[in-house]
Symmetry: C2
Subunit: 561 residues, 2 copies
């Protein structure tokens, strides 16, 4: 692609051009902005180069030589300087020479099926203070079928984009006037969130957690004591001043939980203490990286902190992993992987604790028969952690549950318990979420189900569609009866044609539509239409009610008649 | 009292000394700080003066003469200057002369029963930049019985102080380290709050409200557009800066609701739109006025905003008043009064709208047969309002529900609907809360019930107390069965004596205690003890379970066997 671009723009300056998942990109500094119409032209050039079947040859040269070769390529010169050692590797095909570590395919003829997919702006070295280059993305596959499959998936992904679904299904908004990255939940989105939150709370209480509510602001000093000011300053909002004291809006919920724990002394008999909160936190992210619900500036974590002894740590981690698995399963995410992140170079606490804790995390996963990969050095500075990443229906990865051991906060805040020996011991703290955040989790649900959520999560579960005005009273009667049974039912009473109402309910991904006409009224039967188009008739409302009730209470993932 | 103080401190400087509800106070500038031991000495002097039965005489004098009389009383001189007109009134008994509008009782002998109750610091003119004076509070009654009754009530009030109960019942904390006025809800407090919130949400959904979630920060510009920056600036937190834009933590929820409403156009057929949110807001209050849960810096309003046409306003206000009455009733507050606050001097909107809206509020109350008082000029600048104040069991007043009409925001944000005429019309906005805030409402509940909350609100509803270790398994079995039935039951498994466990459960105001011993196990009967001390035996657990279930579902206010 770079050779093709050069042949069209002889003065092009070249940035970097790596291979990525499913494809590749290259960053160029060009005399004019590219438009989508440029892509077929570049593709045509590429096909010519491929047809020439030119071999890729490489050689190693001294940096001095490379600097002469790339004398008119300032970005390449920077790259040459950055490469360690005295030599760099060059690849050449035909007359085109590039700086590249390799490896490459043997010749241009080996590239069979490819497509340039998009153009984007990209700062040189990802730094917004450096020049903006133009990036061209492309994909390459072995077969035409694989490319078609990929393009189909991309199309489906665009259709399932949660930002698009959020608008179509009227679930949430982010307003420029209020601020980027700040999510406003519309009524229907709020119903989904409430259902998830209630389920989450009940499940936590069952599993021995206590719920808390803590404020959204606190004195900055608290965050200095904790180390957050030092380690996460870039993500914190600027302080507010109140009567000569600085406050910040909280970036995490842990400190409020530590204060509550420390309100009184705890004996070893009372441990573990498990505090859970749906706590809304605010973290600064550059506006360039904000993305729908999945990268935001304010989000509600399904947070919890466990205060326990080292001896209890394994059982607690097992409990969290079980809960996490149960949650993933319940919401329909069956494809997930575990990652164990170990001690980074800069860390708090002592080596022995780190080793014990890392070992404990491994044991917990092994006890549950869960396979995992190790991410060496990827732990937080305060302790090792387990991250669970799950895939949605289209194979895209999502950050899911996390379990983090913390040696730092107990030390800094002297979070103790009285042991059997009558003496004070530091607790081990565990930070964990099982959904991540309400915002990102809704995004993953929407994309996984393409907006057609399971019945228990659907904002409107049953849309009752009267054929004519004379069926309206009867429709309202059905609505009342369904609501009484805890079903979110609604009557579409608008003076519109039945087919239009059905189409709209389908667009809104409402699981069940009940069409009420003369026959249904006379026979007291229920004509049901699923959003998928399937239809059936229930002999009476009770039968249908039971079906919906079961779909809700059993949290059925598939919509059934 | 002032004469008595002067006889003890001849150099005392006198501030003001008005009559207040149930008693009186006087502010003094004294050469030394008073201690509680001074009060009996002053009381003794007062009794001497009362025994002399000296008549109170008054006369009017020219201000010039008054200035000479009070030459050594700087505070009185200030007061003389402030009184309009040329003359002031003086009262004299014996040799003591004071500036006073009157009226007074005829002579000191008419004062029969009194008691000095406390000493407090008070800024001259309530201004923290002026000198701090010493205030002595006292009460006076016609009879000894009335005084005793009052003192008993005070004692009871101190016992029922929500700050004290909050600590004793382990419900919440405010930590100096996190910041004054910021409430942290402990597990038991959070249970109460969740029960209230769930009830509140369900009730709102039943009544046609939609729930929302909106963020806690927004761009300052939004609050400039709304007028809050101009009118409420003193209560707003200082701005935070994000990428060159100023943000503030929200002092109210309305703007987020306005943005959501404005996401799309609304036809008259869709009105009224009712948006409800348990929204946590932050307002600056001077640390001097903060008080427990009832005056705080962060609180969760049970907020809602109704967008309707003027024609719908009356029905909407009726609906809110009905909901407010239902809430007050459900929580056991039967003694409440309504106040209609009318147009202040400085107001937004036009006169005609104000009159129509004020009239509409009156009509709504009249339609429901509710008596009300008028607070002239006490409306918000943006519209007239109804405030409901209720009394707790000890006769203390609490600020309750409020319904406020708003002409300002619809105008400033162009909040419209499409009328039957196809044109845009401004909506009328109603701001309302029916509990006020979660924090203040919990305070009122605690003080009203002296911490002994109705069963449905009690964090622990049933404490199961095994007599010996051999009853423990059976106790856990009962706990599981009760939990299964939705009852918050707990086993006190500590190796302590039964009587101690009962006493502690009583101190924790747990409604029901089940004592499980040999007989209860053998006969499968249930020995129940109420926190009030009453006892009975149920023939089986089912019978007891039904009793508790009914207490919960019927939200019974009285605890019954």
């Amino acid at each position: 692609m770079a050779e093709a671009v050069q042949s069209i723009f002889p003065d092009a300056k070249f940035g970097i051009g790596p291979a990525i998942k499913n494809g590749f990109y290259y960053d160029f500094d060009l005399p004019r902005s590219l438009t989508p119409e440029d892509l077929p032209v570049i593709e045509a050039k590429m096909r010519e180069i491929i047809a020439r079947d030119e071999p890729f040859n490489w050689r190693e040269v001294a940096k001095e030589e490379a600097r002469q070769i790339f004398a008119k390529q300032p970005y390449k010169l920077e790259l040459v300087d950055d490469i360690p050692g005295d030599k760099v590797r060059l690849y050449q095909q035909g007359s085109f020479l590039d700086l590249c570590r390799g490896p490459h395919v043997a010749s241009t003829g080996e590239v069979t099926v490819f497509k340039l997919t998009s153009i984007a702006g990209a700062y040189w070295r990802g730094n917004e203070h450096l020049p903006m280059l133009q990036r061209i993305y492309g994909v390459a596959f072995d077969t035409r079928e694989a490319l078609d499959e990929h393009l189909k998936r991309l199309e489906e992904a665009a259709r399932n984009d949660h930002r698009r679904l959020g608008k179509e299904l009227d679930l949430f908004s982010i307003y420029e006037e209020a601020g980027p990255g700040l999510v406003h939940w519309h009524p229907k989105g709020a119903i989904i969130r409430r259902v998830i939150e209630d389920f989450w709370k009940d499940e936590h209480i069952k599993r021995g957690y206590d719920l808390l509510y803590t404020p959204h602001i606190a004195k900055l000093d608290l965050w200095k004591t904790s180390g957050h000011w030092e380690f996460y300053r870039d993500y914190l909002y600027s302080p507010m001043e109140v009567e000569g004291q600085e406050y910040i809006i909280k970036p995490m919920n842990c400190l409020g939980h530590v204060l509550i724990y420390k309100t009184r002394r705890h004996s070893y008999q009372e441990l573990p203490v498990r505090y859970a909160e749906l706590g809304t936190v605010y973290r600064y992210e550059r506006s360039g990286v904000l993305f729908g619900l999945s990268r935001v500036r304010g989000f509600t974590q399904d947070d919890a902190h466990i205060f326990c002894s080292f001896e209890q740590l394994k059982d607690e981690v097992v409990g969290v992993l079980e809960l996490a698995g149960f949650m993933m399963e319940t919401f329909g995410f069956t494809n997930y992987k575990l990652f164990l992140s170990t001690r980074p170079e800069k860390y708090a606490g002592n080596l022995e604790d780190w080793e014990k804790a890392t070992e404990t995390l491994s044991q917990a996963m092994e006890q549950l028969g869960l396979a995992y990969q190790v991410d060496p050095g990827e732990g937080a500075f305060y302790g090792p952690k387990i991250d669970i990443k799950f895939e949605d229906a289209l194979g895209r990865g999502w950050q899911g549950p996390t379990v983090q051991v913390d040696f730092n906060l107990p030390q800094r805040f002297q979070v103790n318990y009285i042991g059997q020996d009558g003496k004070e011991h530091l607790v081990v703290m565990v930070h964990r979420t099982v959904l991540g955040s309400m915002e990102r989790f809704l995004a993953s649900l929407l994309e996984h189900y393409g907006g057609a959520l399971p019945v228990w999560l659907s904002p409107v579960q049953v849309m009752i569609i009267p054929v004519a005005d004379r069926h309206l009273d009867y429709a309202y009667q059905m609505e009342a009866e369904l609501k009484q049974a805890g079903v979110r039912a609604k009557v579409d009473a608008r003076p519109e044609r039945m087919n239009l109402k059905i189409r709209q309910a389908q667009l809104e991904k409402i699981p069940y539509m009940l069409v009420v006409g003369d026959r249904e009224m006379a026979e007291a039967t229920v004509s049901v239409r699923l959003r998928s188009g399937e239809q059936t008739t229930y002999p009476d409302l009770n039968g249908f009610k039971e079906r919906v009730r079961l779909a809700i209470t059993a949290k059925e993932k598939e919509l059934k008649l």
